[in-house]
């Protein structure tokens, strides 16, 4: 007799976020863009289905979920950032509605008047808030969809004829960027195969398919070839608040090499990769996610595996001084400007939420 366990997940309310988490986990191989869209959908469903009356309540709901995500996926940034952004949206909507209602200006306060912070307790129930938020989110999603194009469209500004571009591993954004550039100009691409060898090869292959002259090199050759490179263009996992990057392992040395030959080092990033976190390289926890040793030492290496410790870090930290330009859908920015973008994206007090 097959006994099916039919238990209700007792914490119904947070089930949705569990689903989101498991999806993110389940589909590690899919790029951050999918995560982003997925999160927005999640957010929509949250707003439309969950029980909430005031903006405050809604914000609490969101915050609660952010907590859960950040605890169960310590290395996830994209979905968190989007939720964080949504908090700001909620605030703004609330204000603007109130403004219409009362006509008085509640512009975000200056820091010199600290205690006027949070004059609004967001406790009023505003019927049309929900609708407007949903609109906002759809808008946001559309913007996200176009963002990839926007970035790609800037390509021709950055790549010129007969230049040689070096990239590392595979990033969808970079791929589209280069391909769109190839439409206008002819140039050579060097692809370093990166820690995840397969990805590097795929990248090289795709570029070649798009009829771009592509050369695949092992990572060790980066320094040797750097003098012949005009630009390094890479994708990144996260853009830190201080303008530093958290990117695929191996990029740190590439950045150093680029700096050594003073080759511009550009990172392509969507807005949702901007994270209001300041951590120095000495902060272990945020960077030292370790992957499977198999990428370094095959499992069939025999008895020496019993003795050797193998580390295969997933991320590298690239300090801002090594980064020349961070290109978003809104154009290029110097790393030093990141904090500004952050203030546009999020509200101070949500930073460490």
């Amino acid at each position: 007799m097959a006994t099916n366990i039919e238990v209700e997940h007792n914490n119904e309310d947070t089930l949705d976020v569990m689903q989101l988490i498991s999806d993110i986990k389940h589909s590690q191989l899919i790029n951050s863009y999918n995560t982003a869209t997925r999160t927005v959908d999640f957010l929509k469903s949250l707003i439309s289905e969950q029980e909430w009356t005031t903006a405050q309540e809604l914000m609490d709901l969101v915050k609660k979920r952010m907590k859960i995500i950040s605890t169960s996926l310590p290395y996830e940034v994209v979905s968190l950032n989007i939720l964080r952004h949504s908090l700001k949206l909620i605030r703004e909507e609330y204000r603007s509605i109130l403004k219409k209602k009362k006509g008085e200006d509640l512009s975000p306060p200056q820091f010199v008047t600290p205690d006027y912070r949070e004059v609004l307790d967001y406790s009023e129930t505003l019927p049309d808030l929900k609708a407007r938020l949903l609109d906002q989110l759809t808008e946001y999603k559309v913007e996200m969809e176009t963002s990839c194009e926007n970035i790609a469209n800037q390509a021709s500004e950055h790549i010129h004829t007969n230049e040689t571009v070096l990239t590392v591993g595979r990033s969808h954004t970079v791929e589209r960027f280069l391909i769109s550039a190839a439409k206008k100009t002819t140039f050579e691409v060097i692809v370093a195969e990166s820690s995840n060898i397969l990805e590097g090869h795929t990248m090289a292959n795709n570029l070649a398919e798009a009829d771009i002259g592509t050369t695949l090199i092992p990572d060790t050759n980066v320094f040797a070839l750097m003098p012949r490179v005009n630009k390094v263009i890479i994708g990144t996992d996260t853009v830190m608040a201080n303008g530093g990057l958290r990117a695929q392992a191996g990029l740190y040395v590439v950045a150093l090499a680029a700096q050594h030959y003073s080759v511009p080092f550009m990172a392509l990033a969507h807005m949702y990769k901007f994270t209001p976190v300041y951590v120095g390289p000495h902060d272990k926890t945020t960077f030292d996610l370790l992957g499977s040793p198999a990428d370094v030492l095959p499992y069939s290496s025999g008895p020496m595996l019993n003795k050797v410790k193998v580390f295969n870090p997933v991320f590298d930290y690239i300090p801002p001084e090594l980064v020349t330009l961070i290109i978003t859908q809104q154009g290029g920015n110097a790393p030093s400007y990141v904090y500004r973008i952050l203030t546009e994206l999020y509200v101070q007090e949500d930073y460490d939420a």
Binding site: E193, M304, N312
Partner: protein
């Protein structure tokens, strides 16, 4: 490994890179001391090796239909020396051997059938290594020339087989060199020698090249012998064999004739794989030696002179130099150090092991490098010696660099402008070390110093076999780069060396002294390579 062999290895000292090559080295080592029996037994191992290579090639050429039988043959071949003296080997060992040989041959098939190139699978390598150990152990025992004689006879046909096979496999090989017919050079104008393993097979049938050199050539181009020390030593061994066997034709002066032969042989080696600086330097010295000898003394004496010149060279320039260097580095290693090394350098290995034996407490971080993955071999040796090791790929540098206290690197050659030419990737290590301001020591015997001046890695370099990049046994799925379409736009590049700027390096450790890179020219003046 029993004491005896250990010492043997020490005698050879700097044994180079891959396991296969170590075997080759042992082979050479034996050849230096003129124990006839041992010479024979060396031939014996070189045989199955080449034999099975021939297999693979043949297979590339034709269908894999008759592997099974062929393997049968090979296994026979291998067994021959082992079964000889009933008294010598215990039943058990023999059983074990047979078992392993079965496996080996079996593996062999597997390799063929899964078309993976000469890369031998672990278990096979073990089997083979074991084989040789046994064989040598036994070789010590049977000093009876009689049976070695007959062994010899057994081998000769085998040799023929190689050649034929080699020539046969010509087409198979050709495809790989097709991949970049210089097209890579177009975008980034780089004056590279092209990588052509093809030529090696043309020249196998060249009459007046000593078999030792032909063997050597094959080993070089197949990267069986890797690492400048190893290559140099093996060259010298081959040289000594040449000198020994050389018969001056009537009304010809020995030294003249030798020079002539040498000329041919070296040009052949050059074709197989560009010579390393160490080799060229060694040859220069040898030639100058040759010219100095007055031609009136009988050939035997000349030979004798030359032979002990070679021996002294190996001994002084490489082994003792290594010793001196390791002593110097030893001073610099302090307890609790975490030492980062890159790839696999015989010298570094020696230094670390000696440091370990002198009871220094330190950890080692080995940085492995695709596609050659020499680091793995280094790990194997260090762990075997009992040293506490950690392994990262070159991508993991940042992760470990913070905890590292010293970086110790080997070198292919030291250029006159103080730049260091070494395995590709070395400069990245130095760069990272600089960023974390950790001291970088480069260890290099002075005989590797070069007259050349070079500011970047591209003006003079060597292209490795691009196919290794596609070696996908580490990948989850086969690489898409294998697919046929759009070949034109797709190129591979695999430089073997790069040049590290002097200012990234704290010091160079030579047998003379620990000095800054910039004082290389001084050393060259003190101790000129050309005499």
């Amino acid at each position: 490994m029993d004491k005896k062999k250990q010492s043997k290895e020490e005698k050879v000292g700097a044994d180079g890179l891959t396991k296969k090559e170590r075997r080759a080295l042992k082979v050479q080592a034996r050849q230096t001391d003129d124990n006839k029996a041992e010479q024979k037994n060396i031939r014996q191992h070189s045989v199955p090796k080449n034999g099975e290579k021939s297999e693979i090639n043949q297979n590339m050429a034709e269908k894999g239909s008759e592997n099974v039988t062929e393997n049968g043959v090979i296994v026979e071949e291998v067994k021959v020396p082992l079964d000889k003296p009933e008294s010598g080997l215990s039943m058990k060992e023999k059983r074990k051997l047979e078992w392993e040989k079965k496996l080996a041959s079996v593996k062999n098939e597997n390799n063929i059938e899964t078309k993976c190139d000469q890369q031998l699978s672990k278990s096979e390598q073990k089997a083979k290594r074991r084989e040789i150990q046994e064989a040598q152990r036994l070789a010590k025992k049977n000093t009876v020339t009689k049976n070695t004689e007959e062994l010899n006879s057994k081998i000769s046909p085998e040799n023929k087989k190689i050649d034929s096979a080699a020539t046969k496999s010509f087409p198979a090989k050709h495809t790989c060199s097709k991949r970049f017919d210089g097209s890579i050079l177009s975008p980034l104008q780089m004056p590279f020698r092209d990588y052509k393993p093809v030529e090696l097979y043309d020249s196998v049938c060249l009459p007046n090249i000593h078999p030792a050199f032909i063997e050597l050539g094959v080993q070089y181009s197949s990267k069986t012998i890797l690492g400048s020390n190893a290559r140099c030593i093996s060259l010298l061994c081959a040289l000594s064999r040449l000198v020994k066997d050389l018969r001056t034709p009537p009304e010809q002066e020995f030294s003249r004739y030798l020079e002539l032969v040498l000329q041919k042989s070296t040009s052949y080696l050059q074709k197989c794989r560009p010579m390393s600086v160490s080799m060229t330097n060694a040859l220069k010295l040898f030639k100058s030696q040759l010219t100095q000898i007055d031609s009136n003394i009988p050939d035997e004496d000349i030979k004798k002179k030359l032979l002990d010149f070679i021996d002294t060279f190996i001994h002084d320039e490489i082994l003792t130099a290594g010793k001196a260097i390791s002593l110097k580095v030893l001073e610099k290693i302090s307890n609790g150090d975490i030492i980062l090394i890159y790839g696999c350098s015989s010298l570094i290995k020696r230094i670390l092991i000696e440091a370990f034996e002198s009871k220094k407490q330190f950890k080692v971080i080995v940085v492995d490098n695709r596609p050659l993955t020499e680091g793995v071999e280094m790990l194997r040796r260090l762990t075997k010696a009992g040293i506490d090791c950690t392994c990262v790929s070159i991508n993991g540098l940042r992760y470990v660099m913070a905890s590292v206290t010293k970086i110790v690197l080997g070198a292919h050659s030291l250029l006159t402008n103080g730049y260091v030419m070494s395995r590709a990737g070395t400069s990245l290590i130095a760069l990272a070390a600089k960023a974390f301001n950790r001291p970088v020591l480069v260890c290099c015997e002075t005989y590797k110093f070069s007259e050349r001046v070079q500011a970047d890695s591209l003006v003079y370099n060597e292209i490795g076999d691009p196919d290794i990049l596609l070696k996908d046994d580490t990948l989850n799925n086969p690489s898409p780069m294998k697919s046929r379409s759009k070949k034109r736009r797709r190129k591979f590049l695999n430089l073997l060396y790069d040049v590290t700027p002097a200012f990234l390096i704290t010091a160079v450790v030579t047998e003379l002294a620990i000095l800054p890179c910039t004082s290389v020219p001084v050393v060259l003046r003190v101790k000129p390579i050309e005499i």
